[in-house]
């Protein structure tokens, strides 16, 4: 099914099942420990792999002595780059997943020891002796950012009007530099895979967000036929972008199984994960805002520097600044330096998450300079059209792009309720009780403050396919390679199929995460919920047609409800259509260029109250609220969970999360869950989430968008602004830990 015109009324609009706060259908499995994650697929005769990570950040392996390890009890095989055969590199990988002799980053996998038991593999891995020839690497973004280059892909730079002149002219100017650190996904399930070969066929149970990308890149890496791979990932214990791509666990499990001639299980050891896998890269951001005395932004500029391995990508932290606030003269610029740290890549809301951490502090600072309420300042600069007109098209013959370039035609947002988010949030949170003068409110030893920030995330769509089966007993089964990484895919897909086929939720079975199923959008970029259900919608439309034909209905007013098919006064049980055998339909929802004609984004407003200990500078969050406008909410219960989870991760980014770089050795030194602190229960208060009523017919037949990333966008800045309101201390370098607050805190 092509989707290139806004959705008309369709069966989803009934909202009998879709839009209802159903419990997760896989809930009883997850809460009883019966949902099987990758490493839990035990195979007969299986062996255990243990990964050896490189002990240097850059250089070469001078020698690797494996003889002693090979002789150790239970050892079956040792895989290294030397004996693994020729390996390719996945399209979406920057560094090799099995390193050697060249080492590209710290803890890059250099060997897998396969043994009869986990204990034996672990002990033998410690007997592998490696000598390195270390090389000088580049590990400091601050030092390397000057050599930053304009990235080749995407739109690293944008310019509208004349920023420089506009900024110079502005009555009130603001110019500041912000820092965000490297972040680790730190999902609870380590990257894990179980691989088994059957001749030249490879089966892998793994933990991956994007089955299709994973299978493609596994084929490329192993130089085998894509069709001989079956990748399965029915449950994913968290990903947050860290499992978007093929990672070393999959490759090593496959190579280990080949070498051992047995199924092999590999889970990355926790202390390896931070350096072995990807992370959200640190940024340095410069933000300049020029405005009139009455608070109208005339000029806005946002520059960002980040680093990655040679051939890697930038963190697109300026993206939201092209869309969020009005202003005639504007520029953004992205520069990428080469760093020899581990590979940087996407983490929950790449770009916007760190970008808004900076931009939304800057907005708070500018509001204060203008002596305008920070909410009013944002509302004053709200816009219903994209303020940054599309840049010159690569293809000059594209009339749509040309219209944009000409500037005659404004590009509207499909929905933009940013102001409404702020208004409702302010009312519910009690914004009017905020003292605009910082450091005035006390509660015992605590300094109390309130902060706000805008949330923004562009909506992305991905083509998504599904297969739907109607069985003789009336059960509807959906098969798609979509994954559920905690997002609620199982449930909203079941809701979609139930709504479309007019059956109760209990009559729907959902099977996910298998590369033998139709290729879906996968889970990433907050596109998964909307795109994958749209694919299921498309397949269900086909199944409805097949059912109608089978039952001899040809009317337009055909209705699927109460497990029956009805038209006029004729009604038949749905399952009758399958009485001669199962009916199967398959389709893919293909997204057209609607999103280029009408810009789709999701919006929100974050409200945070903090207490800062007046003695020690410890910040503790007291209240959090997010108001979101993100299209149709397919399941308010699971969507709310997405948002509270994002708020929690944003709270971590604001207050504690930082991969600490040892710039001498070039690695993240705090590489375990004791060193890299993420929020615990005690850090998180009750969280409130409000969804504004919204449907977006331009996004898909589901009229939904996404919230899983919107929720983290801006929340860090809301915390930062609350800390400023509480203490009067402005910190522009995350995380906002007490050591950064104390020097300017009032004496006690």
């Amino acid at each position: 099914m092509k989707f290139d015109t806004p959705a008309a009324t369709n069966p989803i609009d009934q909202l009998k099942v879709v839009g209802q706060p159903h419990d997760r259908i896989e809930g009883p499995l997850k809460t009883t420990g019966t949902a099987l994650y990758a490493y839990e697929h035990n195979l007969p005769n299986q062996a255990y792999g243990y990964v050896v990570g490189a002990g240097i950040a850059k250089g070469r392996i001078r020698s690797m002595e494996t003889a002693e390890a090979k002789r150790a009890p239970g050892v079956i095989a040792i895989v290294t780059a030397e004996n693994a055969g020729k390996l390719g590199i996945g399209e979406k990988n920057t560094a090799k997943l099995l390193g050697g002799p060249e080492i590209q980053h710290y803890h890059q996998a250099i060997a897998l020891v396969v043994a009869e038991s986990f204990e034996q593999a672990r002990a033998a891995a410690n007997l592998v002796r490696v000598e390195y020839q270390s090389e000088k690497g580049r590990f400091s973004l601050n030092e390397e950012k000057g050599q930053g280059k304009k990235p080749e892909d995407g739109e690293p730079d944008s310019a509208v009007g004349d920023f420089q002149a506009g900024f110079e002219r502005a009555a009130v100017k603001f110019d500041a530099i912000y820092h965000t650190p490297d972040h680790s996904h730190a999902m609870m399930e380590p990257h894990a895979s179980v691989a088994a070969w059957d001749g030249d066929k490879l089966m892998v149970w793994t933990s991956n967000q994007m089955i299709n990308w994973g299978a493609d890149d596994l084929a490329k890496t192993l130089n085998i036929n894509r069709d001989s791979i079956r990748l399965m990932s029915p449950f994913v214990g968290g990903g947050f972008g860290g499992k978007l791509f093929l990672r070393s666990d999959i490759v090593l499990a496959a190579l280990g199984a080949k070498a051992a001639h047995r199924p092999v299980k590999v889970a990355l050891q926790r202390p390896l994960i931070a350096n072995n896998t990807t992370h959200r890269p640190a940024t340095v951001q410069r933000i300049r805002i020029g405005a009139s005395q009455d608070g109208k932004i005339s000029a806005i500029g946002h520059e960002s520097w980040s680093g990655d391995l040679e051939g890697g990508q930038p963190e697109n932290a300026v993206q939201q600044t092209r869309f969020l606030y009005a202003g005639a003269d504007r520029m953004t610029q992205t520069r990428l330096a080469v760093l020899d740290l581990p590979e940087g890549n996407a983490m929950r809301a790449p770009g916007e998450a760190p970008g808004l951490m900076a931009l939304e502090i800057a907005m708070d600072e500018m509001a204060e300079r203008l002596e305008i309420d920070p909410i009013e300042f944002r509302i004053l600069n709200d816009t219903q059209v994209v303020p940054d007109k599309p840049s010159a098209p690569a293809d000059e013959t594209d009339p749509q792009a040309k219209a944009g370039e000409g500037g005659n035609k404004d590009l509207p947002f499909s929905q933009r309720q940013l102001t409404e988010c702020f208004r409702q949030g302010a009312e519910r949170f009690g914004w009017n009780k905020r003292n605009p003068q910082p450091a005035q409110v006390r509660d015992g030893r605590w300094l109390v403050g309130i902060g706000v920030a805008a949330a923004f995330r562009n909506n992305q769509t991905m083509d998504s396919g599904a297969r739907v089966r109607l069985a003789t007993d009336g059960v509807v089964t959906v098969e798609t390679d979509m994954t559920d990484i905690g997002t609620g895919s199982y449930t909203i897909i079941a809701q979609t199929a139930a709504e479309m086929m007019g059956v109760p939720l209990e009559m729907v079975e959902v099977r996910l995460g298998d590369s033998t199923y139709p290729v879906s959008s996968g889970s990433g970029g907050q596109w998964g919920g909307n795109s994958s259900t749209a694919g299921v919608y498309a397949a269900c439309v086909k199944l409805r047609e097949a059912v109608a034909q089978k039952l001899g209905f040809n009317a337009d007013d055909i209705e699927f409800a109460d497990s029956k098919v009805r038209a006029g006064n004729r009604s038949l049980p749905l399952k009758d259509a399958a009485k001669d055998g199962e009916i199967v339909a398959e389709d893919t929802l293909e997204f057209g260029d609607l999103d280029k004609k009408i810009h789709q984004s999701t919006f929100g407003a974050h409200f945070v109250e903090v207490g800062v200990d007046s003695f020690t500078g410890e910040t503790r969050i007291r209240r959090m609220m997010a108001v979101c406008a993100a299209g149709r909410i397919l399941n308010p219960k699971t969507a709310r969970s997405q948002v509270i989870g994002a708020l929690t991760m944003g709270a971590g980014a604001a207050l504690m999360e930082e991969l600490a770089i040892d710039e001498r050795h070039g690695f993240f030194a705090n590489h375990d869950l004791a060193g890299y602190e993420v929020p615990v229960h005690a850090d998180i208060p009750h969280q409130e989430v409000v969804f504004l009523d919204e449907t977006d017919p331009t996004s898909s037949p589901m009229k939904a968008k996404g919230v899983g990333e919107l929720g983290i966008c801006g929340v860090g800045a809301a915390v930062a602004n609350a800390i400023y309101n509480a203490t009067g201390v402005r910190v522009r370098e995350y995380p906002i830990t007490l050591d950064k607050l104390l020097p300017e805190m009032p004496d006690v």
Binding site: E119, N126, R445, T616, D662, H665, N670, G675, V680
Partner: protein, 316 residues
């Protein structure tokens, strides 16, 4: 983890004797620290002596009016013990500020006393560490040092003692009771139990080879207000940046020890006499010989402020 054999000890003296027979043996009780380190081969015992059956898990009153805490008493039980809560509140509070409920259910008094540092360079076996491998150097110095020690450091080591309990025991003037392989017992004042790193950071305590901790005694209760102020980035389940364990009397005098700043719980008795002059004066005495790094210099001011907070809390 290297392969090992094990035995279950029948008495403290047997345990100590067994340890003396095998130089690479270790006692195991809760195991929460030892197994963590064995998995990384930072600890590589070839033999474990399980002391869990030794019935050293009770509290009894001493003739001096204090208490004797069994070495194997779990942290949860110690913190929840009625007598400890009412008379040694500082100890309860310090224990409850540490680790998690699960870990406290396993961790023992003796194990907590012997808890090893959380220095990231000690934990990463690719890095040089004089504690792990004497003479290999200290890669923490000049590296990521935010958590590390600011006082009592040496050129060989800047690690901290991560225990909360030890801070309380130091302030409470605890005594560590042990049995040696030859059956002799001794009592080690807590002040002498933990060592500064000096040139031998791998020697962390006064214990000799095979010596087993059997109990910790506390003198008779001090009265006063018992406060444990632990400062950390996240609200729970985190090691202290700085902690202050104090007992403050109604007249404003008191005693305290500081955690998170040194290789041992940091107590300077002379500094306690400065309490009436305010936290900055106390801090000056506490940190007279401090050698912070740029990354952890904040611990000095933070300690001063945490102390001020404790004094304030004691007053109200």
């Amino acid at each position: 983890m290297k392969s090992f054999s094990f035995e279950r000890a029948q008495s403290p003296a047997d345990a100590a004797a067994a340890a003396a027979r095998q130089p690479d043996a270790k006692f195991i009780a809760g195991g929460t620290n030892l197994l963590d380190l064995m998995k990384l081969e930072i600890e590589v015992p070839t033999h474990l002596i399980d002391v869990n059956g030794l019935a050293l898990d009770r509290i009894e009153d001493t003739e001096q009016g204090g208490i004797r805490i069994g070495a194997l008493m779990r942290n949860t039980d110690l913190a929840a013990h009625e007598r400890v809560r009412s008379d040694y509140g500082l100890l309860s509070r310090a224990l409850l500020a540490g680790a998690s409920g699960q870990l406290r259910n396993k961790a023992t008094t003796a194990g907590n006393l012997l808890q090893r540092t959380r220095c990231p360079y000690f934990y990463d076996t690719n890095m040089a560490c004089n504690k792990r491998q004497p003479g290999s150097g200290c890669s923490a110095i000049g590296g990521f040092t935010r958590q590390l020690a600011v006082v009592g450091v040496s050129d060989a080591c800047i690690a901290t003692n991560p225990s909360d309990m030890n801070v309380a025991l130091r302030a409470l003037d605890a005594t560590v009771e042990t049995v040696k392989p030859d059956g002799q017992t001794r009592a080690i004042p807590i002040a002498d139990f933990h060592k500064l790193p000096g040139d031998t950071p791998h020697i962390e305590t006064a214990l000799e080879q095979g010596e087993l901790i059997t109990a910790v005694t506390l003198p008779k209760p001090l009265g006063g207000k018992h406060i444990y102020r632990k400062v950390r980035d996240r609200a729970s389940y985190a090691f202290a940046l700085v902690s202050v364990g104090a007992v403050i009397q109604p007249d404003g005098t008191g005693r305290f020890a500081v955690g998170g700043v040194a290789h041992k719980p940091w107590r300077v008795e002379e500094a306690e006499s400065e309490l009436s002059r305010g936290a900055p004066a106390v801090s000056q005495r506490l940190f007279a010989d401090a050698k912070p790094t740029n990354e952890n210099r904040f611990k000095l001011a933070l300690t001063t402020r945490a102390l001020a907070s404790v004094v304030e809390e004691a007053r109200t």
